[in-house]
Structures are given as structure tokens and as C-alpha cells.
Amino acid sequence: MKKRRMFFRMITASLMRRRSRMIVALLSIAIGATILSGLVSIYYDVPRQLGAEFRNYGANMILTGSDGGFTYAEFNIGKSVIPAADIVGAAPYRYENVRIREKPVVAAGTDPDEAKAASPYWLIDSGEWFRNSGELLMGAKVAESFRLKAGDKIEVSFTPEDQQEKAADNQAPEDNVREFTISGILKTGGTEEEYVYMNMDDLEALTGTADRIDVAELSVSAVSDKLKQYTADINSAVPEVHASLVKRVTASETTVLSKLQALVLLVTVVVLALTMICVATTMTAVVAERRKEIGLRKAIGASDSSIIKEFMGESMLLGLLGGIAGSVLGYVFAQQVSIRVFSSSISFRPLLVPITITVSIAVTGLSSLMPIRSATEVDPALVLKGE
């Protein structure tokens, strides 16, 4: 019992009283451990985080009616196949031909919030996103041809089906007319610029018919295999709805994301390998510094094994402390990276703590073992003569 106490007394004395040297060694072990736990957390979180970034490309799944449109009820059943947490945005669209200043324009009714979530790349060139009833988001090309700008008020008219025959007979049809305020001008560089967007309720009121969706765009955060599974599930759950993947988005995402993941993995491996070697050389130097002390201990009767035990004890204690510090700092680092880069927080991985500590103990221990062994082979007489 007493012997063990002396053992710890010596180790703590060495750590406490040689503070400046030990802090430097500890710091390098801690940095090594920080890099380990930080990079591994990032590596595990990057696919999730980057996957979320790739949702910026917009919808990767499209729902269409197997036969024309489909209803909200069908839409919701289809949506429920996918876990809610995976759905970034699910925007239903209904397209109708309406007229502005007697010129035909395609109007799309949708849910403004969902549309924004499903198509984050849509740019509001001027004005703001549409929200309330009576507001309308106008495609840039439409706005250009009418010379309209955000804030303008316009009338949108729609000819109901029963009136269309009259129109065909060159009679004046009784149109449904509603007044809208242009909340903003939409720029996408694509066909969306040729449409006007309004709340689904407004479109339903304008047309006088409700509960019909032509297309729903879903932005789902999942890998391509899972997406395929979801489409198959939706197609079998709701026969009225046909789900398909937007190949351009899903295929490209798989390619790019796998490259980025490989990049982070390789970078992690290279950085880790080099850092571990750095820690090892530091420990080698720390031990080599104390050859004289090892010689002295041998001269006063220490056996090789007890010297190895003591110095290893010390190194492993350093490894333990460094590992603990590294786990904490690594988490903080990963968290900072995540917040700065992806503006979302990282999940804490409890398993990483014991792994970091074990690796850091193993690396410091192994890297001290060699120099300690070689130091014990030193002739104490030579060391003590001040060689």
C-alpha cells in the first residue's frame, strides 16, 4: 500500500514541480487529442451538415398525380411516408392559366413557407417574399413584360370552366377577378421567372375550386438509396400519387457529397497521423531529457522494470489528462466549426470521449516506452559522471 502511495507521490511531484516542461508536453498531447476528437466529430457530422447544404439545390423528389391532379389528403399520406425530420420542405403547387391585363399568365398556388424551404435558391430581386392572402410573387420575366414592380397592385382574372364556352363564342365571359399586391419579383434564371406565385387559398378562391394539387416538390434530406426507398413506399402507399426523383439533383448530390466526405476523411487521416507522430516525438524528447535522472535512479538501486513503470505511469497520466482536455476542446472546436460553417450545432458523441482518452494514453505511452527502455540501458556510472 505504502509503496503505491510513494509511486503516486513521485509521479505527481514530477508533474507538479516540473510544471513548465510538463505543461508544454501536456499541451501538445491535448492538442493532439483535440485534433483527434474534433476531426472525428466533424467527419461524422459532415455528411449530415453538408447534406443539409445540398438541399439548397432544391427539391429532389416530385409528386405528381397518376392521373391529373391529386388531393391534399393524398399528398399528406404520401408525405407521411417520409420521417418529418427528413423533410426540409414540401411545397404543393397548382398551376392555372389566369390573365393579367388580358394577357395569359400561368399562376401557381402554393404554401409560401414550404415553397421557400423547398427552393431556397429563389432570389427575391426586389420587395419581399409573399406571405399573406392578397400578395403575389411575380416572376422577373412576367414583371419585365408588364413593366411592373414590387408594391404595384394588379387585378388577376380567371375564366371558370362554365364560362369558357362563352369565351369561345366571343361573348364576354363572367370572370372571377381578385386584386393582388406584388410583394416581390422572383429571379431564378429558370422557367419559374415566367410564372406568378400566390397562396393556394387565393388561387382556390380565384378559380372557385379547391383541394387539387398538380405537382408537389419535396426537398428530402436523405441519401439516394433511401430516397429510392421513399419513392417506392409512396408509390405503393398512395396509388393516386406518383413519386419520382429529380435525377439531376439526386445523382449529382451523391457524386459530390461522396467526394467531399472522402476529402474530409483523408484530411482527417493525414492530419491525425502527422499529429500523432508529433506527439510521439515530443514524448521522446521529454523522456530523453531525463536520461540523467534515470541513471541516478538506477545507481541508487532501481530495477529497470520499476523505472519503466514509473515513467510510463507518468506518461500515461499525461496522456489521460491530455485526452480529457482534448475531448473537451475537440468538442468545442467541432462545435465552433459547425456553428461557423454550417450555422448549426453538432451532436455530442459520448463514445468519442473514451476513444480519445484511450488513443491519447496509448500514443503517449507507446511513444515514451522506446526512449525509456533505451534510457534504462544506459550505464548509470557514465550518466553520473556527467556525460
Binding site: T34, N56, K141, T188, V256, T275, T281
Partner: protein, 428 residues
């Protein structure tokens, strides 16, 4: 004598010096590998993101105002871009950033059954010899990388086999019961033609119901020789910033200096502007779905790499610092002796610094090349291409290694200066 002493340390204590050099080499290799990867990751990821297709679309000025709005009966009255100007896209200031492009002409044709079908003419693997001496294979084969060829193959423009061939979307092929090798007859407003189906593709979009043929083949159907109705351009761009956004709205609002900066940076908006300068009566605009997302992902990846690089630089710096301190301190006895026989503090410090400096130069040089090697491993295994050697990495690594080793020497030198020769020699 000074040189002799330095040589003495370097050659006779080569083991210790090797250890320092090794650590410095490790640190330097880490730094240069990470810096090289970090500086190149933008370009590399940018290349990868090209799989999303074109990020710039060029259309004629007249059609940019929605033609359908004016209920134009006949598309042919719409303006077209000139096919003979296509080469000009590769003459703009940012020509090297244009990685791919393809013109399109879309013709509404009739099938034998009377159904109407869109016949799209484009480039597949169009070979261009540019006035600059550069050669480029451009077309939808690379621009539509996400297409799955269900059967058959891509049209081959270069061996001439493509001229009467067509690629058919999978939905249309299923509807008409077409397979590779079968013929399809279409009638345009001017002529009619019979194509041989060379490939059936799944594009996962509306293209699945269309027929893709060579540009001149489609033009002939409607008598549109020499005309194209849009161009898709895939360009390497720099993510937009506030300047680029302002410029995109109105380049004239910029000051001369800002305009220069904007024009000479590969923003999507400045490349668009330059394309508009090169091609008559066109509007080039970024495809936001691609351009905007590209910018986001590029920025994030770069930021991520920067942070990882900073962390590893700190790690490398600490490792070097630590070892330099430890190994210089080890020599207290020798330095005490020097002081005892009359060396001034300055002389002792200079000696130590010079030794460490020489070691650092060797270690740093070895480390730089090793690090560049690591960068290549990363480049080849992730992106399948080499990481470019950026000249700026060399000074950064050099300065970093220099500063870090010198900082590493500070505690050691302070200790050495504090040494009293008697204490050292009497074994304290």
C-alpha cells in the same frame, strides 16, 4: 570558429539535430499539405459541382420577354442566337473558366401518329479547335452527366455516325415501343427526316419525352440553319459577394475601381456580362439553382478546410515549438561551459539560433515536399487529379516554420541566458 562550432553540432550531434529536423519536417509537411489542399479545394469542388450542369443560360434578348405573353402564333418570329458566334464564348476574359457549353435549338415536330414531339438539337461531344490553339470537346454528354443511358450509347459526333442518329427519352421510347436501332420519322415545318435510335436515356425530367439530335439535324427540320435558341454554359465561378450582387443589378452603379475588380473576378455575374459583350443580342443569366447552391457549398467547404487547416497549423506549431525547447534545454551543460570560458550571451544565443535555423531550413524543405506529396495523395484519391502547387504555399510555410522555431527557442534561450556557468559545471 563560429562556422566550425556550428558544423560540430550539426555533424557530431546529428542524432539530436535529426530529431529536431524530423519534427520540423512533420510540422511543415502538415502545414503545406493542408494549405495546398485548402487553396485548391475551391477549384476541385467547383469542378465536382459541374455535375449539376450549367450554371449560366444564354437566351436571345427578344425571347427573354415571355413570348407566350403576346400569344405569338409562330415561334419562328422570335429572335435567335447565331450559331457562328458560339466560338466567341471561348474568347472572353474568363475563357479558362468556361469548362463546357452547349447550344440548343428546340423544334416542335410531328410524329407519324400525329402526336407532337419536341426535337432538340444540340452538341453531344462537339470538337472545337479554338483560335487560341486550345481544343475542347463540349456538349451535353458532359453537361448532362446525370442522364442514365438505359440502352445504346451517346451520339458520337466526331466519327460522323451521329448525323442521322437520335437519342430518345425513356418515356417516349416506351410509348412508341422504340429500341436501339429502330427508326423514327418526324416532320418539321420545313422538312421531314428519319432518325435511327442510337440511345435511350433517363434524365429524370421532362427530357424523357423528347428526342435529342445533332444541332444541324434539328435546325433543318424548321429551316433554322445557323440559329440556336439557347446556350447552356458551365463555368467555374467565384461565390458571389456583396459587390457581385450589386454589379449583377447594375454594373454601371460601380466605381471604376470596383468595376475593374468585379470584371476581373470570376463571379457568375461578371462572366454573364462578358458573354453578353461577346454575343450579339443575348441575355446571359445565372441559373440560380446551380450558381447559388454552388456558391454556398464552395464557401462552406472552403471555410471548413480553413478551420481544419488552422487547427492543424496550431498542432504543428506546438509540436515544433515543444521539441526545439526541449532539445535546446538539454544542452545547458555545454552552453554553461561556453559561458564559463567567456562567451557573451549574444554569442551563445546566436550560436543556438543559427544551429536551429539551419536545421529548420533542412527540415522545412523536406517537410514541404513531403506535405506536397500528401496533398497529391488526397488530390488523387478524392478528386482523381493533382493538387496544383501554389507558389504562395512556399512563403507561408517558410515564414510559419521560421516564426515557430524561433518562438520555440525563446524559452530555451531565456533559460540559457539565466544560467550561471558555475552552477552548470558543478552539476546543479
Amino acid at each position: 570558429m563560429f562556422g566550425r562550432m556550428i558544423r560540430g553540432t550539426l555533424f557530431r550531434q546529428w542524432k539530436k539535430m535529426l530529431m529536431i529536423a524530423f519534427t520540423i519536417a512533420l510540422g511543415a509537411s502538415l502545414a503545406s499539405a493542408m494549405l495546398s489542399v485548402m487553396l485548391d479545394v475551391g477549384d476541385k469542388v467547383n469542378q465536382e459541382l459541374k455535375t449539376y450542369g450549367a450554371n449560366i443560360r444564354v437566351v436571345p434578348k427578344a425571347s427573354s420577354v415571355l413570348s407566350g405573353l403576346y400569344e405569338m402564333e409562330d415561334d419562328q418570329t422570335g429572335a435567335y442566337l447565331r450559331e457562328d458566334e458560339l466560338g466567341k464564348i471561348k474568347t472572353i476574359f474568363w475563357t479558362f473558366n468556361i469548362v463546357d457549353y452547349a447550344p440548343f435549338v428546340t423544334v416542335d415536330a410531328k410524329l407519324d401518329q400525329g402526336d407532337s414531339v419536341k426535337v432538340v438539337g444540340s452538341w453531344f461531344d462537339h470538337h472545337m479547335a479554338l483560335p487560341t490553339g486550345e481544343e475542347l470537346d463540349a456538349g451535353i454528354r458532359s453537361l448532362r452527366s446525370w442522364w442514365d443511358i438505359e440502352s445504346g450509347s451517346w451520339l458520337n459526333e466526331q466519327d460522323g455516325s451521329g448525323s442521322k442518329g437520335a437519342m430518345v427519352g425513356i418515356e417516349l421510347a416506351e410509348k412508341l415501343g422504340l429500341s436501339v436501332g429502330s427508326s423514327i420519322h418526324v416532320t418539321g415545318s420545313k422538312t421531314d427526316d428519319t432518325y435511327t435510335v442510337r440511345g435511350i436515356f433517363d434524365a429524370g425530367g421532362e427530357e424523357n419525352g423528347q428526342i435529342f439530335v445533332q444541332l444541324n439535324t434539328a435546325q433543318a427540320l424548321d429551316g433554322l440553319e445557323g440559329k440556336v435558341d439557347s446556350i447552356d454554359v458551365s463555368a467555374l465561378t467565384t461565390p458571389d459577394n456583396e459587390l457581385a450582387e450589386r454589379a449583377a443589378k447594375d454594373p454601371k452603379s460601380l466605381t471604376v475601381a470596383q468595376y475593374e475588380l468585379w470584371y476581373c473576378t470570376a463571379y457568375a455575374s461578371s462572366i454573364c456580362w462578358q458573354i453578353q459583350e461577346a454575343i450579339t443580342d443575348c441575355v446571359a443569366s445565372p441559373v440560380r439553382q446551380v450558381a447559388d447552391s454552388e456558391g454556398e457549398i464552395l464557401n462552406k467547404t472552403q471555410l471548413l478546410m480553413i478551420l481544419i487547416t488552422i487547427l492543424s497549423l496550431i498542432g504543428a506549431a506546438l509540436g515544433i515549438c515543444n521539441l526545439v525547447t526541449a532539445s535546446v534545454m538539454e544542452r545547458s551543460q555545454e552552453i554553461g561551459l561556453m559561458k564559463a570560458i567567456g562567451a557573451y550571451n549574444g554569442q551563445v544565443s546566436l550560436l543556438v539560433l543559427t544551429e536551429v535555423f539551419i536545421t529548420a531550413v533542412f527540415g522545412g524543405a523536406v517537410g514541404f515536399f513531403a506535405g506536397f506529396g500528401f496533398a497529391q495523395i488526397i488530390g488523387h484519391s478524392v478528386f482523381g487529379s493533382a493538387i496544383a502547387l501554389r507558389p504562395m504555399v512556399i512563403p507561408i510555410v517558410a515564414v510559419l516554420v521560421f516564426i515557430v522555431t524561433m518562438i520555440g527557442c525563446i524559452p530555451a534561450i531565456r533559460m540559457l541566458l539565466g544560467l550561471r556557468p558555475t552552477e552548470v559545471l558543478h552539476g546543479k
